[in-house]
Symmetry: C2
Subunit: 218 residues, 2 copies
């Protein structure tokens, strides 16, 4: 008798619940997470709630003030800069590393994702963003570096929080598609240098748009 699926603990469920609530904005920044009320609300005890919160804390979603409470961290320009700098460094490396060894199959997969994004451009912003994430993470997978992949995955999570803004207007969507095409073109040449530059240019542009749209606040 084999176990079919993995065991999913309450902790996991609560974690996913809370993270998606933060990402979607249902729980706003500055808001306090209260172990007891969340536990009651979800029908579990404080323990799994507590462990879920610890994970969120580790991933920098929330901050624990001892004896006072757990507060959802807010994001400012500095956070955006930090995430994009890390993406710049690591995704640039991914491109450099992957360009010379990428297979035709993987190229096809990237093109497929890109065409899906084109279809979704006028449809659903949310789905568009999901596919964008797939595009970048598909490249990352090719490094076979799980440490790097996990880190980029965390960054992608953070992106979701302010990612909604990044592709707010039609212009940026069009640019995003063009830049993805440029990455694909660079990959076709199998040139590590060109690929790295195409990716880093894409990331720099995204950052610029996002920072520009965040300028006035605070």
């Amino acid at each position: 008798m084999k176990k079919i699926g993995k065991f999913v603990s309450y902790t996991d469920q609560v974690y996913r619940e809370l993270k998606s609530a933060i990402v979607s904005g249902d729980i706003q920044q500055g808001e306090f997470l209260q172990e007891r009320s969340i536990a009651e609300q979800l029908g579990v005890s404080r323990t799994p709630v507590r462990e879920a919160i610890k994970r969120l804390e580790f991933e920098d979603w929330v901050e624990t003030l001892p004896w006072k409470g757990v507060v959802v961290k807010d994001i400012d320009r500095q956070d955006i800069i930090e995430v994009f700098q890390c993406r710049y460094a690591n995704e640039g490396f991914v491109g450099e590393r992957v360009a010379s060894t990428i297979t035709d199959e993987n190229m096809a997969e990237l093109k497929k994702i890109k065409s899906t994004m084109e279809e979704l451009a006028d449809e659903s912003r949310q789905e568009f963003i999901n596919e964008d994430r797939k595009f970048h993470m598909h490249l990352a997978q090719l490094t076979n570096n799980s440490l790097l992949i996990h880190f980029l995955d965390r960054l992608s999570d953070q992106m979701l929080r302010f990612g909604i803004l990044a592709v707010k207007d039609k212009v940026r969507i069009k640019e995003t598609l063009e830049e993805h095409q440029a990455i694909i073109d660079a990959l076709e040449t199998r040139s590590p240098e060109k690929t790295k530059e195409a990716i880093q240019r894409h990331i720099d542009n995204s950052q610029d748009v996002l920072l520009h749209q965040t300028k006035e606040r605070e």
Copy 2:
């Protein structure tokens, strides 16, 4: 009224205790961590031990097998490669970023660390490694990117685990000093490109030595 010191929980203490035990080899890879016995041994309850273990799990030191146990992950060639690739990408970025803006004070600090390392070269391997970490982390600090800094700090922790091997022989110590000097020289020119290359060359060399010394096993 200022708060004098930070509050340190049992969880923090247990975490540090366990991590240093793993790093030092007191707890070997493959060994099982048992919440109950550790709690008893340290004179605390299971709860803080459990939370400490969760943190270790998140940082990939251990793996939890539900209802079976928590086992200390072992490190293989792939782990070494992954850590060094991440260092290559991120520390390279640090060099690129910092070269053009580094102050004379910070240059002086780097030189000071380097001369300390020279003094320690024949004394204490452990202290030598600590100073090496300081050198790299000092550069990282200059980016003011806390996300990046935390990631590199985690990588440094991992380095400790197999770092003992990296500077096992006198030859490698001498090379390390030379390569640090090369990084300092590159910084003097304020050239992002040269600095990045000097750092990445240093990291590549360290990786080569380490992989070479790990070749036979498994």
